[in-house]
């Protein structure tokens, strides 16, 4: 059991959007190096929860601390959050290369009125190598496949020297091999850079196979624990209002041993 100070601390958070309660009684902590998966049905408030952590939505009640500070007061560099959104909708002909996109991740570290220097470009190239996109630096981002684009966005997040990655359904639209590769890459980056990861996904099995903890929410937290505990049909039935017959005993046995 770790006693490190939590990187993310959410206490009794409630969020209303347009007068409707979206989240309530949300309480959890994430310690350094953890991989936490957030699951739940559509409209459960998963993306809103990530937006609260990013400081894009202010909760009506409760406190949120990321790196010990309110999200809106986060600093740059190591205290910045790396964010990989669900397949972003961008113009595929937007004239930027992979290198240009990854450099965008340095924008906050550099600050206003400052131009990228050689060290910044070196960090960009290193991030591109780390996600396995070496050789793709000059390619236009819109020419890449979905999986390659998500790796480029992951490199953009890494380039900010973050220690905390938030992923919002980052595997949506990817085929199974690309999805599997992305999770394998996340595990490697987590190990190499001591990253803490919070990922929202609808893919219960893939997320369950990689995360240390799963949190199932539908407005509020239904169950929070290790994947073997959470991924039971009777645990998820209430949140999803349907049966999960595919969560078989065989699958749980196959994932019982930590990776």
């Amino acid at each position: 059991m770790t006693h490190a100070a939590p990187i993310v601390e959410v206490r009794d958070v409630a969020v209303d959007l347009a007068g409707h309660p979206v989240l309530w009684d949300i309480d959890f902590t994430v310690t350094p190096g953890q991989f936490v998966g957030i699951i739940g049905p559509n409209g459960a408030g998963k993306t809103t929860l990530l937006r609260v952590l990013l400081g894009l939505v202010a909760p009506q009640r409760g406190t949120v601390r990321v790196f010990g500070r309110a999200p809106s007061q986060l600093g740059r560099g190591a205290h910045q959050i790396g964010y990989v959104p669900q397949r972003p909708e961008f113009d595929p002909r937007f004239p930027v290369s992979v290198r240009d996109v990854v450099m965008m991740g340095r924008a906050c570290c550099l600050g206003l009125f400052r131009f990228p220097r050689r060290e910044d470009w070196q960090k960009v190239d290193a991030s591109i190598r780390q996600v396995g996109l070496a050789g793709f630096e000059s390619r236009r981002i819109g020419e890449l496949s979905g999986g390659e684009q998500q790796r480029a966005f992951l490199a953009r997040a890494l380039c900010s020297e973050t220690r905390l990655l938030l992923l919002d359904e980052a595997t949506t639209g990817l085929d199974l091999p690309a999805e599997h590769e992305l999770y394998a890459l996340l595990q490697r980056l987590r190990r190499d850079f001591d990253l803490t990861i919070i990922a929202v996904s609808h893919d219960l099995l893939e997320l369950g196979a990689h995360a240390d903890e799963l949190m199932c929410i539908n407005g509020t937290t239904h169950i929070h624990g290790n994947p073997q505990t959470v991924l039971h049909s009777h645990q998820l039935r209430e949140a999803y209002r349907c049966e999960f017959d595919f969560l078989s005993d065989e699958w749980r046995e196959s994932t019982e041993h930590p990776r």
């Binding site: 910045q80 959050i81 961008f90 004239p95 793709f136 790796r151 900010s160």
Partner: protein, 284 residues
């Protein structure tokens, strides 16, 4: 040609054309990539209200237009950002109201002797030394601000949500861009007029978008085609005695169709890069 340039009005027109071309080419880059072209139309048409206020109050019409257009640009941004209205609805309401205000004020002031045609369609040959100073000041301010915040503006144009999540001051930068757009529109009124200014904002960047592979190339082509059309349009209009603003826009339109044809040819002859590309190496 040297004879023509011995005239002071032609020298001023040439400098004004180059400055406005540079300004519109650079701002147009963001207008096209951030899809702000309808906002550009709204801002340029609303400048008429500012000109009328200037005429009525006895203030330099272009200075009044700069202040009024900036206010309208901010109002469009505020209404659409706060989610009160869709952006196109806000633009539709504000630009037609501002034009209506301009017509009403002009009719109240009985100021029909003012060169309204010059404001609507431009009169580059009438650029005064004072206009040139104002134009140079706007160009210095706007191009300087864009250069200093280029990486942030590019990030916002590409992915506003992630830029905000990464801690960039997206809303202030957006309003700064709108302000730059309003000032650019006012600077271009003397050259092409407020009816045609949208062409200078959109067409050069569209030419760059067709031809360039990267954003640096697009930016350079956008600025170069805007400057080229301003210079060529100026001389063509002088020798053939046609309206300069309209000639500049027609030269740009010709350049755009040439760029479109060149881009189509290139796409046809190119091998699909997705097919021959090296795929990402398998992960260890």
């Amino acid at each position: 040609m040297t004879d023509v340039l011995s005239y002071g009005f032609m020298q001023r027109a040439l400098v004004a054309g180059i400055l406005v071309g540079l300004l519109c080419g650079v701002l147009g880059f963001f207008v096209v990539l951030k899809r702000l072209s309808f906002i550009g139309v709204g801002i340029s048409h609303s400048a008429f209200g500012g000109i009328a206020i200037g005429v009525l109050l006895g203030v330099e019409p272009l200075i009044a237009a700069a202040a009024f257009s900036t206010l309208v640009a901010w109002a469009i941004g505020w209404l659409s950002r706060k989610g009160h209205l869709h952006e196109d609805t806000a633009i539709g309401i504000l630009f037609s109201s501002a034009m209506a205000l301009g017509v009403a004020l002009i009719s109240l002031s009985n100021a029909y002797q003012v060169d309204l045609f010059g404001y609507l369609f431009g009169n580059i040959l009438a650029v005064s030394p004072r206009d040139l100073v104002m134009l140079a000041a706007i160009a210095f301010l706007v191009l300087g601000a864009v250069a200093m915040m280029f990486k942030e503006l590019l990030f916002i144009a590409f992915d506003e949500e992630v830029a905000r999540a990464n801690g960039l001051p997206v809303t202030p930068l957006y309003f700064l861009l709108l302000t730059g757009l309003a000032l650019t529109v006012v600077a271009a009124i003397r050259v092409v007029g407020l009816i045609l200014v949208e062409a200078l904002l959109v067409i050069p960047a569209a030419i760059g978008y067709q031809l360039a592979q990267g954003y640096r190339g697009m930016l350079c082509m956008s600025a170069a085609s805007a400057v080229l059309s301003a210079v060529v349009g100026l001389f063509v209009s002088y020798y053939f005695n046609v309206a300069a603003g309209a000639t500049i826009v027609l030269v740009l339109t010709l350049l755009f169709f040439l760029a479109l044809a060149a881009a189509r040819n290139r796409r046809r002859s190119a091998v699909n890069p997705m097919v021959v590309s090296q795929r990402a190496r398998a992960l260890p």
